[in-house]
């Protein structure tokens, strides 16, 4: 098709794509803009450049504490849900099991009911069972939400490779555990990494479940929610949002750079 058009005569699709990017970027870009603005009020005209909101962010123990809580929960949830997802994915792709379809459907339910319903039904159960709310309950709720995502990612990776490679491992005298470790694991590794990244991101940004199931110890989104109501707390929160945004930009750029290097090394060693 027409990709050979000169750039000064773009086709309709190209113009649309650029307009679309403006639509999704424009509102988000105002967050960092106002995080450098020397005024308590989020309005134009801009009042000059300042770093004081970033300073306020670093000197804000409750916010940093919430950030640490979110990172902790995110890491634990990512690892646990990936392990659960890996076991489940191996079970449904490698063994003939009666009742497979309804069981998989059951595990996928968190994907098809609104989160508020998951949140309140867990809240009711915990309160009837007299279990106090804590970061642990938030983490458990996040695990339920993340396992289906892990499983989806890993099932598609497991279905993608040849079962006979595992059988070869077994035939060559490895036990089941060593076969998993030396054959299955390296092949599934990209899926595992994808699952870890995806579930960490979901947990880190999750608000509704954390809102209903946390008590005094807050996660970052719950902290942000409470700060949105107080105009004085807002500029440091914007600074934090911008900082997280930049950090994830660096991480993804770095990951992409590694991936490209990996691809290049692969292709040269193949010659």
């Amino acid at each position: 098709m027409n990709t050979n058009r000169p750039w000064w005569r773009p086709d309709g699709f190209y113009i649309y794509a650029v307009l679309y990017l403006i639509f999704i970027y424009l509102p988000v870009l105002f967050l960092p803009v106002f995080s450098f603005n020397n005024s308590k009020y989020i309005a134009f005209p801009l009042k000059g450049f300042t770093l004081k909101w970033y300073e306020a962010m670093i000197n804000n123990p409750p916010m940093l504490n919430a950030l640490m809580n979110s990172i902790k929960i995110g890491l634990i949830v990512a690892i646990l849900s990936t392990i659960f997802g890996l076991l489940a994915a191996k079970a449904v792709t490698r063994y003939r099991m009666p009742g497979r379809a309804p069981v998989v459907g059951f595990i996928m339910i968190p994907l098809v009911i609104p989160e508020i319903i998951l949140g309140i039904s867990l809240l009711i159960l915990l309160s009837l069972a007299d279990i106090p709310l804590s970061l642990l309950t938030v983490g458990f709720a996040h695990l339920l939400l993340c396992v289906p995502f892990s499983m989806l990612v890993l099932v598609s990776r497991m279905e993608g490779f040849d079962k006979s490679m595992e059988e070869a491992g077994l035939d060559l005298g490895e036990n089941a555990w060593m076969t998993f470790w030396r054959v299955t694991f390296p092949i599934v590794l990209p899926g595992i990494i994808a699952s870890l990244l995806l579930t960490f991101t979901i947990s880190f940004d999750e608000f509704v479940l954390a809102f209903f199931l946390s008590s005094i110890e807050q996660t970052l989104p719950v902290y942000i929610w409470s700060s949105l109501r107080f105009p004085s707390k807002l500029p440091p929160t914007l600074a934090l949002g911008a900082a997280i945004f930049m950090a994830s930009f660096i991480v993804v750029t770095f990951a992409e750079w590694i991936r490209r290097r990996g691809v290049r090394l692969d292709s040269t060693s193949g010659i």
Binding site: Y14, A17, A88, L125, L228
Partner: protein, 302 residues
């Protein structure tokens, strides 16, 4: 001969059974996940359903079966009205998001030759900020002293800020359509990418024009992606209470706000449970209807 009766023999027999039976091994691997899901999903949903038939008395529940909450749900017009409004808002968000996303996904799948990954990353970058801050960004955009009003004022186009931009159902639709954009583009892109390019050439060779090829080949084949995108946007947005309470104002509240208040200020958990059950059934019915509709459309095309 009879060593199967000794303890070690029994263990050996069990081990053999375990290794031989695929279902047993499969369910053993599945058991941690299943256990977590039964504890954290099935039991809470059963409890939610049960609680919706109880009543609240100050800080306690009256644990006898009663339909009072459901009677109230249908008698007070506010609940049904809010439920229908939430479905309408969320439906509009879904249609807007999918319609806006389709050309973009089509562009990446068919027009971009190299650097597809760069485009996909470009699309996901705005979604790395917190969901709450993304929603809040629209309050900054549309607010009384927001970007649009204060910007137009300092440029001299306005003397008084426009008050109608924020705090209405339209601002909720715009904000949600923006917040969920990536969830629509990615599944549609994947289904477009999977289409065998020779089918499109065949369509062109058989004398169809580009538009007819799109309608008769590309669109039906990309339908799974469109369905996935619609569900991925509709389900989370219909119960959302964050966006309505930040940018919706009194006229923009949705069913999620009522549920949340029943578990907050109003302190009527059983009523909140009943509303949630009704929301769940309505959403399930909508999804069923939608899947049935798209299924019969695909049959007609095929």
């Amino acid at each position: 001969m009879n060593n199967a009766v000794t303890p070690s023999g029994i263990r050996l027999e069990l081990r053999k059974l375990f290794l031989k039976s695929e279902p047993v091994r499969g369910y053993t691997l599945l058991s941690p996940t299943l256990l977590a899901m039964i504890l954290g999903l099935a039991m809470p949903l059963v409890v939610l359903f049960t609680l919706s038939f109880w009543l609240q008395e100050y800080l306690d529940f009256i644990r006898t079966f009663s339909l009072a909450n459901y009677v109230e749900f249908f008698q007070k017009p506010i609940y049904v009205k809010l439920l229908l409004k939430s479905i309408r808002i969320s439906g509009m968000v879904t249609i807007a998001t999918v319609l806006l996303a389709y050309p973009m996904a089509y562009f990446i799948a068919f027009r971009v030759k190299s650097n597809k990954l760069i485009w996909l990353i470009l699309i996901t970058v705005p979604f790395w900020t917190s969901y709450l801050l993304r929603v809040f960004a629209w309050k900054i955009m549309l607010g009384y002293n927001g970007v649009i009003n204060s910007g137009l004022k300092s440029l001299g186009f306005l003397t008084e800020p426009l008050a109608f931009l924020l705090y209405n159902p339209t601002s909720v639709v715009i904000t949600l359509a923006h917040a969920w954009a990536a969830f629509a583009i990615l599944p549609i892109y994947v289904s477009l990418e999977k289409i065998d390019r020779s089918l499109l050439e065949a369509g062109r060779d058989l004398g169809e024009n580009a538009w007819m090829t799109f309608l008769r080949v590309t669109l039906p084949l990309s339908l799974p992606g469109v369905i996935a995108a619609s569900l991925l946007v509709f389900i989370p947005t219909v119960g959302d209470y964050v966006t309505p309470s930040l940018v919706g104002g009194p006229r923009g509240i949705m069913i999620g706000n009522i549920i949340q208040s029943m578990f907050g200020q109003s302190q009527n958990w059983p009523m909140g449970a009943a509303i949630s059950v009704m929301l769940m059934f309505t959403v399930a019915a909508m999804i069923g209807l939608f899947l049935w509709g798209t299924h019969s459309y695909r049959k007609r095309v095929a």
